[in-house]
């Protein structure tokens, strides 16, 4: 991972805007921001952002690579699309935030203990296993993502909710045994693998 990071640093030598353009999903839109700030003001999680989207775009242009990629900010995105709906320049901000998050993770720069970063990974792992999300396993792995004792504490805190869901048959302990999934797991996994390969090849190629 850190090799990859080093590789990118050397490749772009300070031109972070170009690095983002080449490697981040929808990153070629960053240059189009005119710093009006409507995204920053529209985000429901706004107060929790260390650097709101418009500022992140400015930081990218100012070459603040580490500060951007190590930021917890992008992980605040709840995909509510308020920013996209309002952006006067049509920047797909939600996607850029996701893209930056993915990229920072790939580079190994994402903040280590960012809970949403962990959850997002768990979610992905969960769904790719069988093709469908196993809500119970996802929930459990989430509770235990910070270790066993933390997990017990969280699980206890959440037990009423679990009970409510159980009572209304919106959750079943049976799911732990396997639960839902795609039948063509083989094809499903092969497809994902291929998609991953293509994407990695594309990124490796870009900007060179």
């Amino acid at each position: 991972m850190s090799n990859y990071n080093q590789e990118m640093i050397e490749k772009y030598r300070g031109n972070f805007l170009k690095e983002v353009q080449d490697n981040v999903e929808e990153g070629d839109w960053v240059k189009m921001c005119m710093q009006c700030g409507v995204c920053s003001g529209s985000c429901p999680l706004g107060p929790h952002w260390e650097h709101p989207p418009q500022e992140i775009f400015m930081m990218i242009r100012a070459g603040k690579r580490d500060e951007v990629l190590q930021s917890s900010s992008m992980w605040m995105c709840t995909s509510c699309y308020n920013c996209i709906a309002r952006c006067p320049r049509g920047l797909p901000i939600t996607h850029i935030m996701h893209g930056l998050a993915t990229y920072s993770k790939r580079l190994g720069l994402a903040p280590k203990n960012q809970p949403t970063a962990k959850f997002a990974q768990l979610f992905w792992d969960n769904l790719t296993r069988t093709g469908r999300v196993n809500e119970l396993k996802l929930g459990l792995s989430l509770y235990f993502m910070n270790g066993f004792s933390e997990g017990i504490k969280t699980a206890l805190k959440m037990k009423d909710i679990g009970l409510g869901m159980l009572k209304t048959k919106r959750m079943t302990p049976m799911e732990i045994l396997g639960g839902h999934g795609c039948k063509d797991k083989k094809g499903f996994h092969a497809m994902l693998k291929k998609a991953q390969e293509i994407e990695e090849a594309r990124i490796g190629k870009s900007g060179s």
């Binding site: 009006c36 003001g41 309002r86 006067p88």
Partner: protein, 428 residues
């Protein structure tokens, strides 16, 4: 209607606002025959609805009075109101133009004595005041209207009100049998001065123009200042009629925005700066203005106007496109939410009143032109050889301030004259 005489040396000017008036007069004062058509019942256009002009803070009606006097005195200009162009065919130097004139239901006998207006009862939203006030079904569009003749709202024709109006008129000026008329004329060149309309503020949903009484547009704000406007010249909140001393101005309301108008409407920054002076004028030290902006475009030598207002301690400038407006239910105050991008500061600022510096949209949408015309992506008419002798003047060519619109109109008058002079030369 008397016969309209026009030849291929006649210039047709479409639109009776400041640009159309200028184009018509400048050509006529060069000795050319001009037909000036206007869709509404009177000349004047958008500028007649403004309280003051920047940067001199003078009154648009003053220049309008001069132009009207020039029109009254010039026999080369024929004015046709309530008239629209429905089609143009032919080539530069020889166009056949079809005009559609809607009935005014009032003929030349009208002395504008006002008896019909007193007689009728039905009231309608007053277009002149952007619907902020009401007018009668028989009305003079505004106090400086030219022609100085009353109009009947078509909605009262066929009702008792129309009969009342007719009965009240001593001069046999009300003619309820008037119908739509179509005229076909030949002209050498067309000057298209159909101007702009304020962008539909309701479409800018986060600002709640359609939901919050105390969010208004800049053009409506201008009407408020008119001593004879809907609030008698006072800056009052629509919700409760209280004086609005703390006013927010939101720039680029509909402009520079791909969700609305892609272009910069150019005038709005200066217009808001001008409007901040109204607060001072009316409330002195108690008047407070806050301008939320992306870039202040106080272009050229009038930048000092901006500098002066910036130095006024009661005026605040925040570099921010406001994200959304909510309403404080108790006070009726609009609350503006967003981020001051200079250093990242969040705000939720209540104000007495919000004025949206509304963008300029071309009046005529692409596709509604009476002939094929080269437009740019924003819908403004380009100066292009393919347009033949169809020349845009003023805001149909770009978002322009009055000064530039008049320049553009004057230039278009020469372009039209070049065409008709060539025709005249060819015909000896």
């Amino acid at each position: 209607m008397s016969e309209v005489i026009a030849t291929n040396q006649t210039i047709l000017v479409v639109g009776g606002g400041i640009s159309g008036q200028t184009a018509a007069l400048e050509a006529a004062e060069c000795g050319k025959q001009v037909i000036l058509v206007e869709k509404t019942p009177s000349l004047g256009g958008r500028v007649s609805q403004l309280y003051k002009y920047f940067p001199k803070l003078c009154h648009p009606k003053c220049g309008l009075e001069i132009n009207l006097r020039r029109i009254k005195a010039n026999r080369n200009v024929r004015v046709m109101t309530l008239t629209e162009v429905t089609s143009i065919s032919g080539d530069a130097g020889n166009y056949s133009v079809t005009l559609k004139t809607s009935p005014r239901y009032v003929n030349e006998n009208c002395t504008s004595c006002g008896a019909c207006g007193d007689a009728v009862e039905a009231e309608f939203d007053d277009e002149y005041n952007y619907g902020l006030g009401k007018r009668k079904g028989a009305y003079l569009p505004y106090n400086q209207a030219y022609p100085e003749r009353y109009v009947l709202d078509p909605a009262i024709v066929g009702t008792e009100d129309a009969e009342k109006a007719k009965a009240a008129c001593k001069y046999d000026a009300i003619d309820l049998d008037m119908g739509e008329e179509e005229t076909t004329i030949t002209v050498g060149a067309v000057i298209w001065a159909t101007g702009w309309k304020p962008y539909d503020a309701g479409k800018i949903q986060p600002y709640g123009y359609d939901r919050f009484a105390n969010v208004i547009t800049s053009v409506e704000f201008e009407r408020m200042l008119d001593p004879h406007g809907p609030t008698g010249g006072k800056i009052l909140r629509p919700s409760d009629g209280k004086e609005a001393k703390d006013v927010a101005f939101i720039q680029c309301a509909g402009s520079r925005d791909k969700n609305h108008l892609k272009h910069c409407s150019r005038i709005c920054c200066m217009a808001s700066l001008k409007q901040t002076t109204y607060l001072r004028e009316q409330f002195g030290d108690e008047g407070k203005g806050t301008v939320y902006y992306i870039d202040i475009r106080a272009i050229d030598r009038i930048d000092d106007f901006y500098q002066n207002i910036k130095n006024d301690p009661n005026m605040t400038f925040i570099k921010s496109k406001v994200a959304s407006i909510t309403e404080d239910k108790e006070t009726g105050n609009p609350v503006l939410h967003g981020v001051d991008t200079e250093g990242y500061h969040r705000y939720s600022n209540p104000h007495d009143l919000v004025v949206l510096a509304i963008g300029m949209e071309p009046s005529v949408p692409a596709g509604d032109f009476p002939m094929e015309v080269v437009l740019n992506e924003e819908g403004f008419v380009e100066l292009d050889e393919a347009n033949g002798a169809f020349f845009a003047a003023g805001c149909s060519s770009d978002a322009l301030d009055v000064n530039r619109a008049v320049q553009s109109a004057t230039a278009s008058a020469l372009r039209a004259i070049q065409v008709v002079n060539k025709v005249a030369g060819a015909e000896g």
